[in-house]
């Protein structure tokens, strides 16, 4: 009698395999109403696990997708694979150290991550920043915004299966990254903003690179996007997909290009002006369609507005110091401060509480991708499974920020 070799086809082997956290169906009874609703399967439905290391999830996001045939019925994003406890670390570091912890949050737009906490700490200290420092902040942030949006265009095409656009967008991003590296000394995690100003003044290398780039920036944006704007495959896979209406978007607390693509002109630079934005002239582009294609086009418009802002900043750049006079060890008076900036993904906020020591008592980061990703749940049902990533990519989430 031949002995049976256990194989994966044997149902008993599958049953005896211990459950892991990667199993689509969790190995415990549902704990909430929503979980019971999601993990209860009706006839013909099945669960598919995407991630956490799916190549197009922009980091480590796990999606449990409930499908019926090829159509998505429901979706359950599972977060936390990149959680580093940055809020806790910052509460145990002093004010200057907390800033450098925030860099790896949204690693595509690090300067905004630093700007919001720095502004909150300045509120706690009741500190005025020199005007030249404010202008340099706006200049470097807008450059970072362009780099982030340029990368978005490439990413989105990559998630739809086109590999060429990302090579072009990396050319554009690399120019800006080299520029910022000349200014800050780092390519990605800049650590440039300081409480009371910025780390260093504009230098010759930065300005000469910036001058070179400004000459062809607009032409390059046009060239990059010409590949996609009229591309039939791209347009078919984005237009009309992932449509979000105005009221839902507001209810979900979405912000940034995602809400402006639904026709809501909410931009923190206008809603609650900070830094020197009230002195600058720029438009808030909006679109009415609210679909993936609108979100893509809107970001191109924003790149053009950012180039326009940089142009004005360079013409108006005042002379003077770039740092306020400040002691090394800062101890703000007890109080609370909330500051928000408009990052490439939306409203990026920081809530800080001081208890009079040199460490923040509470340090809270509000990340726009975290809120925007929630909207993926009502957007998906009815779409094809293959379009899940296309819609996700158009929301431009960055897992570093979502998972903190």
């Amino acid at each position: 009698m031949a002995t049976r070799i256990p194989s994966l086809d044997d149902p008993r082997v599958l049953v005896s395999t211990p459950a892991t956290i990667y199993d689509a169906i969790p190995p415990y009874a549902p704990r909430t109403e929503r979980e019971a609703e999601f993990y209860g399967l009706r006839d013909g439905e099945m669960l598919v696990n995407m991630g956490p290391q799916h190549p197009s999830t922009h980091g480590v996001l796990r999606l449990v997708v409930k499908i019926d045939g090829e159509r998505v019925v429901d979706l359950d994003p599972v977060l936390g694979y990149l959680h580093r406890g940055i809020e806790k670390l910052s509460e145990n570091a002093d004010y200057h150290h907390a800033i450098c912890y925030t860099d790896p949050l949204e690693y595509v737009s690090s300067l905004f991550n630093e700007l919001a906490p720095v502004m909150a700490f300045e509120q706690l200290l009741d500190l005025r920043v020199p005007r030249r420092a404010e202008y340099i902040r706006v200049l470097s942030c807008e450059l970072n915004r362009i780099a982030s949006h340029a990368l978005f265009i490439g990413w989105m095409a990559l998630d739809l299966g086109g590999i060429t656009p990302i090579l072009y967008s990396f050319i554009e991003r690399d120019e800006i990254v080299e520029m910022l590296a000349a200014l800050t000394g780092q390519r990605m995690l800049f650590n440039y903003m300081r409480i009371g100003g910025v780390n260093g003044d504009l230098n010759h290398e930065f300005l000469s690179r910036l001058g070179d780039w400004m000459g062809h920036a607009l032409a390059q944006v046009e060239a990059d996007t010409a590949l996609l704007n009229q591309n039939e495959i791209f347009v078919r896979r984005t237009r009309g997909l992932g449509r979000m209406d105005r009221q839902t978007a507001i209810g979900f607390g979405m912000s940034g290009p995602n809400i402006r693509a639904c026709g809501v002109p909410y931009d923190v630079r206008r809603a609650h002006p900070y830094s020197v934005y009230p002195e600058l002239e720029f438009e808030i582009p909006t679109r009415e369609e609210g679909d993936s294609y609108a979100r893509y086009l809107l970001r191109i418009d924003e790149i053009k507005q950012s180039i326009h802002i940089i142009d004005q900043v360079l013409h108006r750049m005042p002379d003077g110091p770039v740092m306020a006079q400040l002691p090394r060890r800062i101890t703000p008076r007890p109080g609370r401060a909330w500051a928000a900036v408009e990052s490439p993904r939306g409203q990026y906020g920081c809530f800080a509480i001081s208890d009079g020591t040199d460490q923040p008592y509470r340090f809270r980061i509000h990340d726009p991708s975290f809120v925007n990703l929630q909207a993926v749940v009502p957007l998906m049902p009815g779409n094809l499974l293959a379009d899940t990533m296309a819609v996700m990519a158009s929301l431009d989430p960055v897992m570093g920020g979502i998972d903190k």
């Binding site: 909430t32 979980e35 670390l89 839902t248 979900f252 809530f351 020591t357 809120v371």
Partner: protein
């Protein structure tokens, strides 16, 4: 608190339609939930603080009936502080694994290498100057075998 938020959200003169942030705070002897709201009628933020929740069993009504987007932020506050939002239909842990039992952002949760604030010091109270203990007991290390 539900009435306050509903009035802020629905009143025709106020219209605080944007929930900018929802944060949990551990003050050392009580818990707080802090909401930041924005309305198009004013350029400034509005901060609403729900204070004096008990540390043992903090409970707040959920704001998801006004702002759907509060759901995940409430899940985060639950995960980090153990604040229970009644009416949130998906109050699970969001960052920590499902079988995790403590609440990391509470002030009595110490990170392992935080020598200046050892568990013996207890909870660090808010608005009270914290001074690290000068003569902390030396850490005993087990001899490697």
């Amino acid at each position: 608190m539900v009435d306050v938020l509903r009035t802020l959200h629905d009143d025709a003169d106020l219209r605080f339609e944007v929930l900018a942030d929802l944060a949990g705070v551990d003050t050392g002897d009580s818990m707080q939930v802090v909401y930041h709201l924005w309305s198009e009628t004013t350029t400034d933020w509005l901060r609403v603080i729900v204070a004096d929740l008990s540390r043992d069993d903090p409970r707040v009504p959920s704001a998801t009936f006004l702002w759907k987007g509060a759901e995940w932020m409430e899940r985060e506050a639950y995960d980090m502080f153990g604040i229970v939002f009644e009416g949130n239909r998906d109050l699970r842990r969001i960052y920590m694994p499902p079988d995790y039992t403590s609440f990391p952002l509470r002030k009595d949760f110490y990170i392992a290498d935080d020598s200046s604030r050892s568990p013996g010091l207890g909870v660090r109270h808010m608005e009270q100057v914290h001074a690290p203990v000068e003569s902390a007991a030396p850490i005993r290390r087990s001899r490697a075998r």
